[in-house]
Assembly symmetry: C2
Homo-oligomer: 324 residues x 2
């Protein structure tokens, strides 16, 4: 793999990150550009092509990328389907229907192009470069605006019959519960995510008379980071919100363990940065809800990847699925 | 595989079934004997050994087994752990602790011995001999006294880190719900199983004033078959019990689809024999609860194995995991 390199691309609703990644997870060059998701996907692919070529050119000039062979391009995208290489009905991109993005990118570069969703990319990154190295059965949970998940079984990412496996954020906590962006009610991500914990704070305002610093903040302005900061100062509503989030997340992670019995579950992304505030109640409630044969056998861990996680994950898709 | 044969053994709480099975799923000889699970496992293994040897001897005499090579012994047992070859804390056998059953049986026969739980064996049987032939992603649900499950991903049975993966019967419907034999509350199998639907009938007696033939039957005497018979006669409580069972099962199967995205889910065992009474509401509620990307993409099917399912499944463990 010496002198071989992979381009990792992470497509977000706002920005797209691009990085050149070697087999050891070193990011040789990186950049980003606005996704401008309101434009048609053809325009996006042209801009992605220009960006990658400009980075290669400047890398060659700086000698940092000279002599490298490009092995492939890995893409993490919302609703990315690995089996079909498509982005399908992505809620936060305004691309309509089913976009054959892998094929469109491959039309510009003579290398393999692979695509999956961002949570699956995070799981592959954790396995290739992070704390899941050597593990054959684990789950990565991304706690951002929503809740994404990537499930690994027998050392392989689970794509399933449709290519869309690993949607733990849309398992149901309560069929008559909170409205979800997917059109249904009570999905886990409406409780356990950066936006979910904000909703829980307002539920606690409705249900309790606890005083809280957060009562001064509007629904539009409240963020998970504010809740974590308030909790660190002992704010009772903030602490109760983390407790309730951990209770619901722990319950549904116990269900996930009953499905695939992982060695570890990694929490990743914005809300996971709250550290023990989220890990402690989640671990406690998960253990309490586990079937006896699974108790004390699942580790709940932070990600082992500290920087460039999305780009590393997208590159891992090529390193793992194409080059291995 | 011509002239090769595998012994399939299904250990139940009451009886143990033994059959000689070829690579095409033909059962050449079969028999059963009382498990007598109150006796130590050493005694059971001796009796199993005698039974298999007697069957071989009589098969040789009858010429039905002459010239066959024994390739291995596959065992389906409650709480059977494939990775360790053990039966661990089986609730309906009085064998204490962890019994190294595969090793003990191997001590009597000079062939490979493999062991798993009965639901995993059913999934392997469905893949090797039944309606899941050629499928790479599917789930088998056994609806008996409890609810067992075997999950197949990428053509491989999921054992997980512990060897105990696939316990969908112990995912939680309601943490403050019905008491479960596992010591927790609200497990799926307390609602969706032969015993679960009986509990639902008594819940309906408590909640509703509907008239019902089943009001004449005691809690001790009521069976799922009686409920199915009453439903076929239009009994309102029986019909409502199937509807409620299908609603809860459908909801949790939608969760299972969000994990591994199977091509099909097979319902198997006593309650599945009620046919459309259970399939129709389960399918309808599952579809209603599926995330949009999974809708109309999962088949809910009856097992393709009509006879000797347990013995065929146990033999499939050897055909699939040892001989393949």
């Amino acid at each position: 793999m010496k002198n071989h390199i992979v381009v990792g691309v992470d497509i977000g609703g706002t920005n797209t990150a691009v990085g050149f990644v070697d087999d050891a997870g070193n990011v040789g060059a990186q950049s980003s550009f606005p996704t401008n998701a309101h434009e048609p996907p053809e325009v996006f692919v042209s801009r992605l092509h220009e960006k990658i070529e400009a980075m290669r050119e400047s890398g060659r000039r700086l000698d940092s990328l000279s002599g490298f062979t490009l092995r492939g391009i890995g893409i993490g995208a919302p609703n990315g389907n690995y089996l079909r290489g498509t982005v399908e009905h992505a809620p936060n991109l305004s691309w309509k229907g089913i976009v054959p993005l892998a094929e469109m990118v491959k039309g510009r570069f003579d290398v393999p192009v692979a695509l999956t969703n961002d949570a699956n990319a995070a799981a592959l990154g954790e396995m290739k470069f992070g704390a899941a190295k050597g593990m054959r059965d684990f789950i990565v949970i991304t706690l951002g605006t929503g809740l994404g998940s990537g499930i690994v079984v027998n050392g392989e990412l689970v794509y399933g019959f449709t290519g869309f496996a690993g949607e733990i954020g849309h398992t149901i906590v309560d069929p008559s519960g909170r409205e979800c962006g997917c059109g249904r009610r009570g999905c886990l991500e409406t409780y356990a995510s950066a936006t979910g914990i904000c909703r829980t704070v307002f539920e606690l305002f409705a249900k309790t008379m606890l005083s809280s610093l957060l009562r001064a903040v509007s629904s539009r302005d409240l963020t998970a980071t504010m809740i974590a900061d308030a909790a660190k100062q002992g704010d009772k509503v903030a602490l109760a919100a983390f407790e309730q989030t951990g209770k619901i997340l722990g319950l549904k992670l116990a269900d996930a363990v009953a499905h695939t019995s992982p060695q570890a579950i990694f929490l990743f992304g914005g809300l996971a940065n709250a550290g023990d505030l989220i890990f402690e109640p989640t671990r406690r409630h998960m253990e309490a809800q586990l079937l006896n044969i699974f108790r004390n056998k699942v580790q709940l861990l932070p990600s082992g990847i500290k920087e460039n996680a999305a780009v590393l994950g997208a590159s891992a898709l090529v390193w793992k699925e194409v080059c291995d």
